[in-house]
């Protein structure tokens, strides 16, 4: 009966995507932890993401126009007065050789993603795994999701950039990932094609995916292993331990003026209540010791 279905759906999905909810608990809840102290800003993760996910290289002119398609980007932040070329008289930096802080910024796979409710056709939705999914086939390109993303990690195909690939460059494309045409929004998926393959293998063997069995492309390429990825629902996974150590909580939590904690862990724009799945471990600065 449709009414019964309606009530079942309502009960089941009432608080979607959490672990430990009485209504539903999930086997997988993908999460990531990035240690900014170890990150060197080399950009290997960016390159790996380009290779794995068939990202188009747009060229210098289009990059400057704001049309870049880097799902993972390295952001550089200088402290007050450290930015090269600033006119402000800087307080003399105590440790200028430390340079800028690098933050690899990718889709935070928010549990309360602001991009999901605003898509008119439900192309952005929430998977039971805790991922923020983007369905290319459903996207009609209204671009509201990107406006609502505080991290600006959603990228729109303003041109059919795959047409720039001249033979034999199309051989480099990853066959597991679709090539997006113009008019479609895309973003980091936590390498969902790799997750899907790992889940299928595990299911064939009647088990769950083990910790370390699946790596995202960025995690795989990082020379210093700054990126830790895994299943937060598995209490013994590396990423769950990293979150616990940083005293990061996940689940349906309201943040009411959480006092600063001595642990290094933080999430970007936490006050927006987006509940990101990516924790950053702050760089240890020499001037805080």
């Amino acid at each position: 009966m449709p009414l019964e279905e309606m009530i079942i759906h309502w009960k089941e999905y009432r608080k979607s995507g959490q672990v430990g909810d009485e209504a539903r608990s999930y086997d997988y809840r993908w999460g990531m932890s990035i240690d900014l102290d170890i990150c060197t800003g080399c950009g290997a993760c960016v390159t790996a993401c380009y290779a794995e996910n068939n990202l188009p290289v747009v060229g210098k002119e289009r990059f400057e126009r704001g049309l870049a398609m880097h799902w993972m980007r390295i952001e550089h932040y200088w402290g007050e007065g450290e930015e090269p070329g600033t006119k402000r008289a800087p307080p003399a930096p105590r440790f200028p050789e430390q340079g800028a802080q690098h933050i690899p910024m990718l889709c935070q796979q928010c549990q309360h993603a602001p991009c999901e409710p605003v898509c008119p056709v439900s192309a952005a939705y929430h998977t039971p795994d805790g991922l923020n999914g983007q369905v290319y086939n459903r996207c009609i390109g209204s671009r509201y999701c990107s406006n609502n993303c505080p991290y600006k990690v959603r990228y729109f195909n303003f041109y059919s950039l795959h047409e720039d690939l001249q033979s034999p460059l199309e051989q480099q494309l990853n066959p597991d990932v679709s090539v997006r045409d113009k008019g479609v929004m895309e973003k980091c998926t936590f390498c969902v094609q790799r997750l899907q393959r790992a889940k299928n293998t595990a299911k064939n063997e009647a088990r769950l995916v083990r910790d370390g069995e699946v790596k995202t492309a960025c995690q795989q390429a990082c020379p210093t292993q700054a990126i830790v990825f895994g299943n937060l629902a598995d209490q013994d996974s590396a990423v769950a331990r990293s979150w616990r150590q940083a005293k990061m909580k996940h689940g349906h939590v309201e943040h009411h003026g959480v006092p600063p904690k001595p642990e290094r862990g933080y999430r970007v724009f936490e006050q927006m209540n987006t509940e990101p799945s990516v924790t950053y471990l702050e760089r240890v600065r020499d001037d805080t010791i």
Partner: protein, 464 residues
Amino acid sequence: MEAEIRKDIAWAKINADVLRSMETPRRTYWLMVGGCALLVALAFFAYTYQYRLGLGVAGLNRPHMWGPYIANFIFWVGVSHAGTLLSAALLITRTEWRRPVYRSAEAMTSCALMTAGLFPILHLGRVWDFYWTFPYPNQRELWPNFRSPLLWDLTAIFTYLNCSLLFLYYGMVPDLAIYRDKAIGWRKKLYRALSLGWTGSDQQWRNFRIGYLTLACFLLPLAISVHSVVSADFAMANLPGWHVTSFPPYFVAGALYSGCAGIITLFILLRHLFRFEDYLTLPILDKLCWITFAIAMVWSYLNLIEFATAFYGGDRFDLEVLHEKATGPYAPYWWFMIVGGIGLPFLLLARRVRRNLAALMILSLVMNVIMWIERWMILAPTLKHNFMPYGWGIKWPSALELIITFGALAWFTLLFLVFVKIFPSLSMYEIKEMLHEHRDVSDRAVREPPPRPIAGAAHAAAAP
């Protein structure tokens, strides 16, 4: 107090004057229509370029995912609101001077909505799939997402277009019967179909009156809710400068402001084009100017209160966006909008300005330019200076977007010009009611010579 229209106009003369507007158009009219059609064709070809190559050719980028197309959409929905205000709200308050003006104001509403409705479609990345936003049952059991403010937009605009077209048509039925009686050729067939056999019987009039008031009572909350829903596109987003609770009334006030200016423009145009000086009189224009001034003051207040809340709130992001608006790259346009939008209505306080048609024409057009810039200034600074510094970026309106903007203006003008030549742009029966309300015992019909039949197709069917 001056009478709005002369009391001694013969009723048959009203019919004759309005029927005269149906004559075969003169050269000026054809030049205007031709010019508009040319601009529309140009905009259409510009659009096909975008369709083939993608939205990048419109200059959009990250973070400026929305640009002048959305500004156009909001602008035209806004322009449409004043027609409903004039027609429905002033009907409910039984304001007499609305009667000569409301038909053209309602026509403006419908034409503006038919222009606005183009933009949510042509700004899409995959335009050919736009119908997925409609809730239709399909084999894949996919439905649109009603949580999205864009869907609320769709519902509201569809409802508003539908209801304002029906309201316009409903009010025209008695006038279409007059046309039917006098027309020949293709026009006669058209009006006979549209007037539904209206003969002015008492039963018809009684149902008509009750239905008309009921429709007006529906249309008024609709008009207010539509632009509030359109403002929800911004207010429901989390961006600084957009996530503001005062957006719904701010948008409605801005809509009425630009719509009233639009009514003044069309009033002067029609008065000149069809020589309707007896009906579209200066005292009525005077009152329209007063309403425009009042609305402009409401808009100015809501504008200033938005800045005040950002200023006093202390939210870092809101403050930076406000700072960006005032001192960033868009600042000259923003200041022009603020100073012009708040200051220009004060010119309407001078009686000399209110009675000078040329001055009012220019003033109303400038006001609408300012309101277009206002819509653009809602979009651009917030998108430029959003939360994430690595998502900051600048965008100026591109040539393609400007061509399509002017094409939309031409489309609106074309629709309106076609309307006034096919349908009565003055409501004959309502003007007669206005005269009847204020009649002296002695004044009555002065017989006029019967008007000429309306020119139609080459062949003429037998008149009744």
